[in-house]
């Protein structure tokens, strides 16, 4: 081992590596908002909004209870998810009625 290698090893003990994004996660509120928007946008698509709406409400509630991320975003996500879910139920109901009428 030469002198330079020794230097590097000695110094490398002082190296501190930290994840700058860790602990600042506001993912649940963002996921809730994203799924809420998607449930509204895809409320015409069979059962898509029912799935995204349920997951949106769950992630929004997780965000609010664990206080991760913006509460406004989580509440908006929950509201949009519920509205998308209900719209999807209405569309599904209409679809089933037209299926039986034909």
């Amino acid at each position: 081992m030469n002198f330079d290698d020794k230097n590097i090893i000695e110094k490398s003990n002082k190296v501190i590596i930290t994840n700058q994004l860790d602990g600042k996660s506001n993912n649940p509120s963002i996921i809730s908002l994203v799924l809420g928007i998607i449930s509204i946008l895809f409320c015409w698509a069979y059962i898509c909004s029912i799935i995204t709406g349920i997951i949106g409400v769950i992630t929004g509630c997780i965000s609010l209870t664990k206080k991760r991320g913006s509460s406004n975003m989580a509440i908006t996500g929950i509201v949009l998810s519920i509205v998308g879910f209900l719209f999807n139920l209405v569309f599904l109901f209409i679809f089933i009625i037209t299926l039986f009428m034909d």
Binding site: I8, S12, F42
Partner: protein, 155 residues
């Protein structure tokens, strides 16, 4: 593999970044650290590497990485801005493009969404939210186009 050399307290340190199929490897002076992406859709890292008085930040987006030494990137010469400080709007756009793209146009839509998401994040880091929204609109139009193409092929 990307390499940088940083001089701190008269000692030259070597930092390497390697992106493998499923994992990211940061090598500092021969010591290997396996790190994982902070985003579920795209590969995104923001790691602080501290050598005493010298603070470095390794920011990786996709396969491309750049090292900021004491707040200035070595590659782009731009000022370092923590990825965590980025507007939530960008992450919302990333989510809508990826999940929405997948629902609308399947795997091709997802691929377009993920590729365009790197552009949103790049603009988001530079605080250019307008450009990110323009990219989002372009991405959505592309996904809608793919949706109609797939629909016409099926019929």
């Amino acid at each position: 593999m990307q390499k940088w050399q940083v001089e701190a307290d008269g000692v030259t340190h070597q930092i390497q970044f390697q992106r493998k199929l499923t994992k990211n490897i940061i090598n500092v002076d021969g010591e290997t650290y396996n790190v994982k992406s902070s985003n579920m859709f795209i590969n995104l890292l923001d790691y602080g590497i501290s050598f005493g008085n010298t603070d470095c930040n390794l920011v990786v987006l996709g396969k491309k990485g750049d090292l900021a030494v004491n707040g200035v990137f070595l590659g782009s010469k731009e000022t370092y801005e923590p990825v965590g400080n980025m507007s939530s709007l960008i992450w919302v756009l990333v989510g809508i493009s990826s999940i929405g793209g997948f629902i609308l146009a399947g795997l091709l839509g997802l691929l377009i969404g993920i590729l365009m998401s790197t552009a949103y994040i790049t603009f988001g880091m530079k605080k250019k939210n307008g450009a990110a929204i323009a990219c989002f609109i372009a991405c959505t139009l592309m996904q809608i186009l793919v949706f109609f193409v797939v629909l016409s092929i099926r019929q």
